[in-house]
């Protein structure tokens, strides 16, 4: 369904139930033996082939995002680019981690440290980056030798199916990557609890994330190992504007961070923290800047604010706006938005206090709260004062203040003098801590380790005191001589 025009159907997806889920787990389990013994080089090449196909089909795929999830052109393009980057980056990382590595040089003994896949991975992705996040989690799981059940969000099934198509064209063996669309409350819950699922990679809301974290801790009859959970959840992201900031720049980036893709990025800005000293000067330009945004159907290029994803989101965000009106002051709300489709007018609240709901809870829509503080100390306290720790930042031209804030902001990603959205794979490894996530970094050098079990193999190589001259730093993979 097209969120800009809900009576338009972008495509049809099927809804899997428990029997299909069971079938898929069996397929993944069956494929694991052979896939885990496939050399890492082959697995890395698979990802690179997928990346090439994504690159070739880049414009076509981003067009699908415009219609299925209401992404503006630039944002859709960025999502495909990120998916490509994930494939290439994880391929490169797998080559780095693949060869067993000597732990220490000791005469007469060799110890090699290496990694095994965990087993069957269940990937649960959100709709807001319908290709990138799904592709990132799934490709990481595949390249590390796991077999994967990939569940796209119910709101972005077409994008998910197209990604599956890309991997099929790239030559992923049967059973290694399994596409399963359906309801989280049915198949999601069933698979999280499943004894044959060894790893869950989830990106989504805090509420669902915490439920997964809890259920995964329960050992089921017949379960082989502890389930490993990778949870990336929401944020209540903040930017501080220092007294000496370049206001044109600060306002431009803040507006983009808060309202780009309708505020539906986990990294989106939702709290703007202003020092008393320049509060009036910022507000004087911030409101007209918000009022100048182009809200409309993202089918038109250059639109920055499109519709929110669906009716439930639409209602939830409007409810928060009502809460905001009671708690704080409605400083700005766009008057005109397209009448059909799930368009929410960009909204700004002032007189927001840190304890208010709109300042604490993730709204995931085009709603910005402005908080006024005395000085930088209070700004830091307010910025850090939520359950979340995903993105936070500062606009300042004072080297000392910049240094201080760099050290003290509690966030997985800290941004100075730029937008707090738009992380690039490898350059800005992305992910938060506290209630924003378990400290994993998508697109970071340590991400693949989440999908692996470390193992050490030690051999006494001395015979009657005779030892081989030198032990090589790396050795070949530990593979079975023949596939079973």
């Amino acid at each position: 369904m097209n969120p800009s025009a809900p009576d338009e159907i972008v495509g049809y997806g099927s809804e899997a139930g428990i029997p299909e889920a069971e079938h898929v787990v069996k397929a993944a389990r069956a494929a694991f033996g052979k896939w885990s013994l496939t050399p890492f080089e082959e697995r890395a090449c698979l990802l690179e082939r997928a990346a090439d196909i994504l690159e070739r089909r880049r414009f076509e795929l981003s067009a699908v995002e415009v219609f299925e999830v209401g992404k503006p052109w630039n944002e859709a393009d960025a999502d495909i680019r990120e998916a490509i980057d994930f494939c290439r980056f994880y391929a490169q990382q797998m080559r780095r981690l693949g060869p067993p590595k000597l732990t220490q040089q000791v005469p007469g003994e060799e110890s090699y440290h290496h990694y095994w896949p965990r087993g069957v991975a269940f990937v649960i992705a959100p709709w807001n980056f319908p290709m990138a996040i799904l592709c990132g989690m799934a490709s990481a799981a595949v390249v590390t030798g796991n077999t994967v059940i990939m569940k796209p969000s119910e709101q972005s099934i077409i994008c998910g199916a197209m990604l599956m198509q890309v991997f099929e064209e790239a030559g992923v063996p049967p059973g290694v990557l399994n596409f399963l669309s359906g309801r989280g409350s049915v198949i999601g819950v069933h698979l999280v609890d499943h004894k044959d699922v060894d790893l869950i990679a989830f990106t989504g809301s805090r509420e669902v994330g915490l439920r997964i974290w809890q259920s995964a801790g329960v050992t089921r009859p017949g379960q082989r190992q502890l389930k490993h959970v990778i949870c990336e959840m929401g944020g209540k992201n903040a930017m501080i504007v220092d007294a000496d900031a370049d206001l044109g720049e600060a306002i431009g980036y803040s507006i983009y961070s808060a309202f780009g893709y309708q505020g539906q990025k986990c990294s989106a800005l939702s709290r703007l923290i202003l020092l008393e000293e320049n509060y009036d000067r910022v507000m004087e330009r911030l409101i007209p800047a918000a009022a100048s945004l182009r809200v409309g159907n993202p089918e038109e290029p250059g639109i920055m604010v499109g519709p929110v994803i669906d009716e439930a989101a639409y209602r939830r965000i409007l409810d928060y706006i009502e809460i905001g009106k009671k708690e704080a002051t409605l400083a700005y709300q766009a008057k005109e938005v397209p009448p059909h489709g799930y368009f929410i007018p960009p909204t700004i609240f002032t007189d927001v206090k840190p304890n208010m709901r709109i300042a604490r809870e993730e709204i995931f829509g085009p709603v910005l709260s402005v908080l006024k503080v005395r000085d930088l100390d209070e700004a830091l306290e307010v910025a850090n004062g939520t359950y979340y720790a995903l993105t936070r930042g500062l606009f300042s031209h004072s080297p000392d203040n910049i240094e201080r804030v760099k050290a003290q902001l509690e966030a997985g990603n800290v941004y100075i003098n730029r937008s707090c959205t738009g992380a690039i794979v490898g350059r800005h490894p992305f992910g938060g801590f506290k209630m924003s996530g378990g400290g994993t970094k998508a697109g970071g050098e340590d991400y693949l380790l989440q999908f692996l079990i470390p193992r050490v193999v030690t051999e006494n190589t001395s015979r009657l005191g005779l030892v081989p001259e030198e032990t090589p730093e790396y050795r070949d993979e530990f593979l079975w001589p023949k596939h079973q």
Binding site: N2, D7, E8, I9, V10, E55, R58, F59, E60, S62, A63, V64, V66, F67, W73, N74, D77, A78, R81, E82, I84, D85, R88, A243, D244, A245, D246, L247, G248, E249, I251, G252, I255, E277, R285, P288, A289, A290, A291, S292, L293, R294, E299, E300, P301, G302, I303, M304, H397, S398, P399, D400, I424, V425, G426, R427
Partner: protein, 500 residues
């Protein structure tokens, strides 16, 4: 040596003679500024810190803040005793030193800004008129983030236009020849100041918003007999500006108006194709238009931006490549003199001498084109050109200190750049022969790209689609419209119950 090169050298030497006849420091204000520039040219790190400090200064309100920042930017011992002492002194009496600093830096900015407001600027323009130097006025302003600001800008342009027309009544053309090509009142307009939501992905939207804001200004300019120039800024806005220019001046109302101009930046690799496109458009339109040829002032910005994004760099890497291209484009302009009136914006005596020599070779009278130079820079060169009987116009920015800083920093970068002409001539005293060399000879064959070029970044991450490029946009549009068509038709089919 070719005849043209001989003539260029002859002209160049003549300009230098005239320049040396009136010894004047490179920068009209000596002292503080002179010393800072000298220091900047010696020490790249100091230069970076200085320009950052200049950039932040206008947003500091209290003297104590100024001193704190001074301390943070320059307290590093590496900057030598002079700076160190200054910083320590400033700490002792922050109130006084804050004001002095602000005053000094304001002085620096005032050197390049012709006036704070339209009233202010008239004094400058009158003085220049007496020296036979014309003007084009540009309005400086803060980055436009909202439509309210953009509307305010449009109103300021209109006010400025009225004011200039009123105050210059009765001014005559300095050459008294071909004056119909060069109205006295000349206004330079920046499109980024007139619309806050310009998206390189959507030129049609930008044009739809910009044209209605420009029409009243153009209409009034025409009534007043004034000239309007569309300035060029960064590459992201280039194609939009070109398209806007062609669109609006093809409209019935403005089709036969000759007093509109646009800019081509010779440092852009696209520049020749763009220029030829404009000439072709002009011929089809059948009315003269004007074109200011410059080297381009956003080199650092474009290079960094494209490297950061892994894009092919839109500008030439080597300064002599831009210089050589400037000369090639000069020829294209003169060859099409029957449809385009050219203005040459350069402080480089070699480029200027080349323009003069080539005009003679092609038999173009010196009253049929003009040189444009920036306010506050290269005064002696302007004077020399006037003496030689050429038409000179000064580019005069008007505005407050705060929004003027970005402009100031661009000028400072230009004046201290290792490759800048003014630095080579006035600070390093290079010989005339050296300064007048054919730029092609100076292009290093192995210097095609800097070591850290976009390809390194591109290997790390897939570049974003460069929406400023027509081709990329066309790809996106094709896919989107194909999909839209299939969705719309299948949805319509479903509504009428024909879907299985």
């Amino acid at each position: 040596m070719t005849a043209l090169q001989r003539e260029i050298e002859r002209r160049g030497r003549r300009i230098f003679e005239l320049v040396d006849k009136h010894p004047e420091p490179l920068f009209s204000k000596a002292g503080f500024y002179q010393r800072l520039m000298a220091l900047s040219m010696r020490d790249e790190r100091f230069k970076a810190q200085l320009f950052r400090f200049v950039d932040v200064l206008p947003s500091l309100r209290r003297s104590s803040e100024i001193v704190e920042h001074l301390d943070e930017y320059f307290s590093d011992d590496g900057f030598g005793p002079l700076v160190g002492v200054g910083v320590r002194l400033a700490r002792i009496v922050p109130w006084v030193s804050g004001r002095i600093l602000r005053w000094n830096v304001s002085g620096m900015a005032r050197q390049f800004i012709a006036g704070r407001n339209p009233d202010d600027v008239m004094a400058t323009l009158r003085k220049r008129h007496a020296q036979k130097i014309g003007f084009t006025v540009d309005l400086l302003g803060e980055g436009v983030v909202s439509e309210a600001q953009a509307d305010e800008y449009a109103a300021r342009y209109l006010d400025l236009l009225e004011k200039l027309a009123r105050e210059t009544k009765g001014w005559s053309d300095p050459l008294g020849k071909n004056s119909e090509l060069f109205p006295v009142v000349n206004l330079s307009v920046k499109i980024s100041a007139l619309y806050s939501q310009i998206s390189p992905a959507d030129p049609a939207d930008a044009i739809a918003h910009l044209a209605p804001k420009l029409r009243p200004l153009l209409r009034r300019a025409r009534e007043l007999g004034a000239f309007i120039n569309f300035d060029m800024e960064s590459y992201a806005h280039k194609n939009i500006t070109l398209e806007l220019f062609k669109t609006i001046f093809t409209e019935e109302e403005f089709k036969d108006w000759p007093h509109a101009g646009i800019v081509i930046q010779a440092y852009l690799r696209d520049s020749e194709a763009d220029l030829r496109g404009l000439v072709e458009w002009g011929r089809a339109r059948g009315t003269r238009f004007a074109l200011r040829l410059v080297k381009g002032a956003y080199w650092d910005y474009e290079t960094t931006k494209s490297r950061q994004n892994g894009w092919d760099c839109p500008v030439y890497f080597q300064k002599p490549e831009s210089d050589a291209n400037f000369e090639a484009l000069t020829r294209v302009l003169f060859e099409n003199e029957s449809i385009v009136t050219a203005a040459f914006g350069s402080h480089n005596v070699r480029s200027i001498a080349h323009t003069q020599a080539l005009a003679d070779e092609l038999g173009i009278d010196r009253s049929r084109f003009e040189f444009q130079l920036l306010y506050g820079m290269a005064g002696p060169i302007k004077r020399a050109l006037v003496e030689m009987g050429y038409r000179v116009r000064e580019y005069c920015p008007v505005g407050e200190l705060l929004p003027g800083m970005a402009y100031l920093v661009r000028r400072l970068l230009e004046n201290t750049s290792n490759e800048g002409f003014l630095r080579a001539k006035f600070a390093e005293n290079l010989s005339a022969e050296e300064l007048l060399r054919e730029p092609r000879e100076l292009v290093k064959p192995d210097g095609a790209s800097p070591p850290d070029s976009a390809s390194v970044v591109r290997k790390q991450a897939q570049p974003r689609t460069k929406m400023a490029r027509t081709k990329c946009r066309a790809h996106c549009a094709k896919c989107a419209s194909a999909l839209a068509k299939s969705i719309h038709s299948s949805s319509a089919a479903k509504k009428s119950g024909r879907m299985s």
